[in-house]
């Protein structure tokens, strides 16, 4: 809030608010906070031009910790409230911080419709597959059979894959990142902000208290190179400690192959194109599950599409130009009026 600091290029620490961060020690949310602050600095966004909107849950405390404008709202509704913020002032950089319970359970409707409308904002989905703030109930992303406080005998329902929801809602930008890779997360956040339209960033986030190591098979030091495929636009889909494993199409399915085996060369490996309008391959990448496949990370989809808030403001401008009314008085006095003397 110091006037003087606003004139210099901002550093990540300049985006820290004066509030003590109260997440549990070791929580994955800290990494997201760091990555976002780095991205804001890298993007050279002015503090007053950024607004963070959140719902309810551990991750929804996020706005209190960023020294920009912030609105900690009600459970599930952040995307709807952020829609109003962005439509009211399209010049703002609008970010939504929301968890898997917040966005995929109570706020599922707003989540899919914000994506469908393609509002120009960023939605960070903190997916820890558990309800943390209410102390450990299963969420819409918890795996079938998950034993939690509210499912002592295991759940009897299948989870959502957030990417499938997003692509099914005709999403224009979807990225996935682990909370263990702040560098990747920062670059993805930068791409998300640059994208025109709704950018969904799913963070595989660890809850140290209620769902510790839920993503460990993906993020563990020993396994991550084999279990993560970090996608880069225009680059072959290679992964593994030796960078010798890759994906290719076999009929209508993806398959994992190893370069040097069965006459496979790098030329056989699929090249990632995040701009493919047809979402089929992006669906296939985002659906990949262990152990048969690695988990796809990075920007999976990034396509141009009509942007809701831009179209809305264009209509207003067009109507202003074309209207037969120049003022409210013109409107009030139009049509059938009569005088009483």
């Amino acid at each position: 809030m110091e006037e003087a600091t606003l004139e210099c290029p901002l550093k990540p620490k300049d985006f820290a608010s004066d509030q003590e961060v109260k997440w549990c020690p070791g929580c994955g949310d800290y990494a997201v906070l760091n990555a976002v602050k780095r991205a804001l600095a890298e993007l050279n966004i002015k503090k007053e031009d950024a607004t963070f909107v959140s719902g309810i849950g551990c991750s929804s405390r996020f706005p209190y910790y960023v020294d920009t404008y912030g609105f900690h709202t009600i459970h599930g509704r952040a995307a709807a409230i952020a829609t109003g913020v962005k439509v009211a002032n399209p010049n703002l950089s609008v970010w939504v911080a929301s968890g898997d319970g917040d966005s995929l359970a109570i706020g599922g409707n707003h989540f899919i419709h914000a994506i469908r409308r393609n509002i120009n904002m960023n939605l960070i989905l903190f997916n820890n597959e558990i309800y943390g703030l209410t102390k450990g109930q299963y969420s819409p992303t918890s795996e079938r059979g998950k034993v939690t406080k509210s499912s002592p005998h295991g759940t009897v329902e299948d989870p959502f894959n957030p990417a499938e929801l997003a692509l099914g809602a005709q999403g224009s930008f979807y990225a996935r990142v682990p909370d263990t890779d702040v560098k990747l997360m920062t670059s993805v956040m930068v791409e998300a902000e640059k994208h025109q339209g709704l950018s969904l960033v799913e963070v595989l986030q660890n809850c140290v208290i209620f769902n510790d190591k839920v993503h460990a098979a993906i993020t563990g030091k020993e396994t991550k190179l084999d279990n993560q495929l970090i996608l880069e636009h225009g680059q072959p889909m290679l992964f593994g400690a030796e960078k010798n494993k890759g994906l290719r199409l076999n009929g209508l399915d993806l398959e994992v192959v190893t370069i040097g085996e069965n006459n496979i060369t790098e030329a056989d490996i699929l090249i990632h194109d995040e701009t493919l309008v047809n979402p089929t391959l992006h669906f296939m990448l985002s659906r990949m599950q262990l152990p048969e496949f690695p988990i796809a990370m990075g920007v999976i989809r990034n396509v141009n599409k009509n942007v809701y808030d831009q179209a809305l403001h264009q209509q207003r401008a067009d109507e202003k130009t074309n209207s037969k009314f120049a003022s409210l008085n013109d409107l009030f006095l139009s049509g059938n009026t009569f005088k009483v003397v």
């Binding site: 007053e48 439509v87 009211a88 707003h110 109507e319």
Partner: protein, 635 residues
């Protein structure tokens, strides 16, 4: 009022307003007419065209469209009857009227639906082509009601409307369905003749509406004229009435519905606050017309989000308010229920927001197209926690403009959500509005702070209003966070401190209470009365006023006060109540305002007159009740 018919001789068309020789000419103070037919018969159009014409020649008018919630209920059934009632005249038009003097019934079902509500000796125009056996059986008559004594006390005009409509337009090449569709204009033509009203306005309407469909245009115009000619030709229809033009305040008027007036009030308020208007909403009967109206006016800068649900409707509005727009959301009862949690967020974050509830019959889906005032306590109390906000109500279709404007003013100047209660009856009803030009309206002063102030905190307040300031994203150096968690009264940071919570709860209440210092004192009509005070609120104003007015003219000891400011109440409310022996609270619910008054001013005794039938009061019923109480006082 009894209408008298005489014999028509040597009819010649005359300019409007001149008395025809040879006719029993009846000059009337005011008349109620009702168009009724199948919901596909075009009754709403006939009614609204008549309204335009009669308003344009300077009558006072009040209208009441009464339509089924089914889009097209089975043809010829009572469930499918759509009605449009118009009360017009030179004076005494305070409501759409109890019962019609002239009923136009396009089929037996329309007759059946209005049978319980006919005045003795009133005139009924029916389409005799629709009175076949299967038609009156479908409508629930045992036999042909025209052939028994059912209508012996009425003046019934049987006209073969459907067949005459078709006969006159067969040469235009329209299919049967399109020809039959014109029959509402035949009926309208007859009514114009009956009331000596000009056809030009309606002819112009068709010239504009069907520019590209000349055959349809011609068919409608010709049918209108045929109806008019028919009425003047037939022996049965032997009189016409001149309703004397109204004496009104000089000015320019237009006909307006309550929902349209509310929409325009918000446009005007945003302009006077020098802000953009934002509407976040979800379609719901009977509030959707506010959305329909505002969406035409993007040229005026309005931003509209038709959201995925009621919750997103209000939430987008709250987001827009946070970002600096004049934010409103519009709904009806069930939608209010869904918006409840978000309203609490607006209370907690002390953001300006107007929530319009065009009330309908409840609970649950209830009676979507019918009127009621049963969401008052929901507005006052329907949230978790101590959650005070401002509740206002509008009185008439035209004054929805003023109350939309006032609701916005209070929201912006006092930093609070405001609930504006209207009701189906006035939202869809119409009356002449004396046009207010924007320069006649006061400026609105939002509590905006748009420059850097190093000492500012989000919950700093002024002492006069206890309102915080509105600092919107984009304001340099003033970055801050608000939210639904309780905040420290000084720093604005999250606080769970017990004393702080108590202070904040009290402050939020005091802020609303203090608004009573910024609103006018309550008025009442009947300065010399002492016996009976009639208390009303909301959209039943016209009917209550009319009933009290009639008794006051008879010299009865009765007074009337009508509330638009519900929370807070005007500061002199108790002073007015103290002047009277008895207080009667009249409302379309089981006593919600009466209960509220009991809580506010327990020193008085409140008697109740309630109606929960999905319909407005009737002047007759009110007068009976008032007289009964006045006479009991004499005994």
């Amino acid at each position: 009022m009894t209408l008298k018919f005489g014999i028509q001789n040597n009819y010649k068309p005359l300019p409007f307003g001149e008395i025809r020789e040879g006719l029993m000419k009846t000059e009337l103070e005011s008349v109620v007419i009702k168009f009724a037919g199948d919901s596909g018969d075009g009754m709403q159009l006939a009614g609204s065209l008549f309204t335009e014409t009669t308003a344009n020649i300077g009558n006072q008018i009040a209208t009441f469209p009464d339509f089924p919630s089914e889009i097209r209920a089975p043809q010829g059934t009572v469930a499918g009857v759509s009605g449009y009632q118009i009360h017009f005249g030179k004076s005494g038009v305070h409501s759409p009227g109890d019962a019609p003097d002239v009923l136009i019934a396009m089929n037996p079902a329309a007759l059946q639906a209005n049978l319980h509500n006919l005045k003795p000796a009133s005139t009924i125009i029916i389409d005799s082509d629709t009175f076949k056996k299967k038609d009156f059986e479908k409508a629930g008559f045992d036999g042909n009601p025209l052939e028994d004594n059912t209508f012996s006390d009425y003046k019934v005009i049987e006209a073969p409307i459907t067949s005459l409509t078709k006969t006159n337009i067969t040469d235009l090449g329209l299919d049967n369905k399109s020809m039959v569709r014109c029959k509402n204009m035949f009926a309208l033509g007859m009514v114009y003749w009956l009331f000596n009203e000009p056809l030009e306005k309606t002819i112009n309407f068709f010239d504009n509406k069907f520019k590209k469909l000349p055959a349809v245009c011609e068919a409608n115009k010709r049918t209108l004229q045929s109806g008019h000619n028919y009425a003047e030709t037939i022996e049965a229809l032997t009189s016409s009435f001149t309703v004397l033009p109204a004496k009104k305040q000089p000015g320019t008027y237009r006909n307006i519905t309550g929902n349209q007036a509310a929409a325009w009030g918000f446009l005007a308020a945003a302009e006077k606050a020098k802000k953009d208007l934002f509407l976040g909403t979800y379609p719901i009967t009977p509030a959707t017309d506010i959305l329909h109206e505002l969406t035409k006016h993007k040229w005026a800068g309005v931003k509209i989000v038709q959201a995925e649900d009621e919750i997103a409707g209000i939430c987008s509005a709250i987001g827009a308010s946070f970002a600096g727009d004049v934010a409103i959301t519009t709904t009806s009862g069930p939608g209010m229920a869904l918006k409840t949690e978000a309203i609490g967020l607006a209370v907690m974050t002390e953001l300006p927001l107007v929530i319009v509830n065009v009330q309908r019959g409840g609970p649950s889906t209830g009676l979507p197209t019918k009127t009621e005032q049963s969401d008052l306590q929901q507005a006052l109390y329907g949230r978790n926690g101590e959650s005070p906000l401002v509740v206002l109500s509008a009185s008439t279709p035209a004054d929805c403009f003023d109350w939309a404007f006032e609701a916005t003013r209070i929201a912006l100047e006092h930093m609070t959500p405001v609930i504006l209660l209207t009701e189906s009856y006035i939202g869809n009803g119409a009356e002449p509005w004396k046009i207010k030009l924007t320069e006649e309206l006061p400026d609105i002063h939002p509590r905006t702070l748009d420059s850097y102030d190093e000492n500012w905190k989000p919950y700093d307040r002024d002492t006069e209003k206890l309102a915080r300031q509105w600092v919107v994203p984009g304001t340099k150096g003033m970055e801050h966070r608000i939210g639904g968690l309780e905040k420290d009264e000084c720093t604005g940071c999250v606080s769970h401190n017990p004393q702080n919570h108590a202070i904040m709860v009290a402050t939020r209440q005091n802020k609303i209470d203090k608004i009573a210092d910024f609103i006018p004192l309550q008025k009442y009509k009947g300065k010399d009365a002492t016996k009976l005070l009639v208390v009303g609120w909301g959209g039943q104003f016209g009917i209550l006023f009319g009933a009290v007015n009639d008794l006051q003219k008879e010299g009865k000891n009765i007074a009337f006060t009508h509330f638009n400011y519900i929370n807070p109440l005007p500061k002199n409310t108790a002073e007015i109540f103290a002047k009277f022996d008895r207080i009667l609270v009249c409302e379309l619910n089981n006593g919600q305002f009466a209960d509220y008054l009991r809580a506010q001013f327990p020193q008085f005794t409140y008697e109740q007159f309630n109606k929960v039938e999905g319909l407005p009061f009737k002047i007759k019923d009110l007068k009976n009740k008032f007289n009964e109480m006045l006479e009991a006082g004499n005994a």
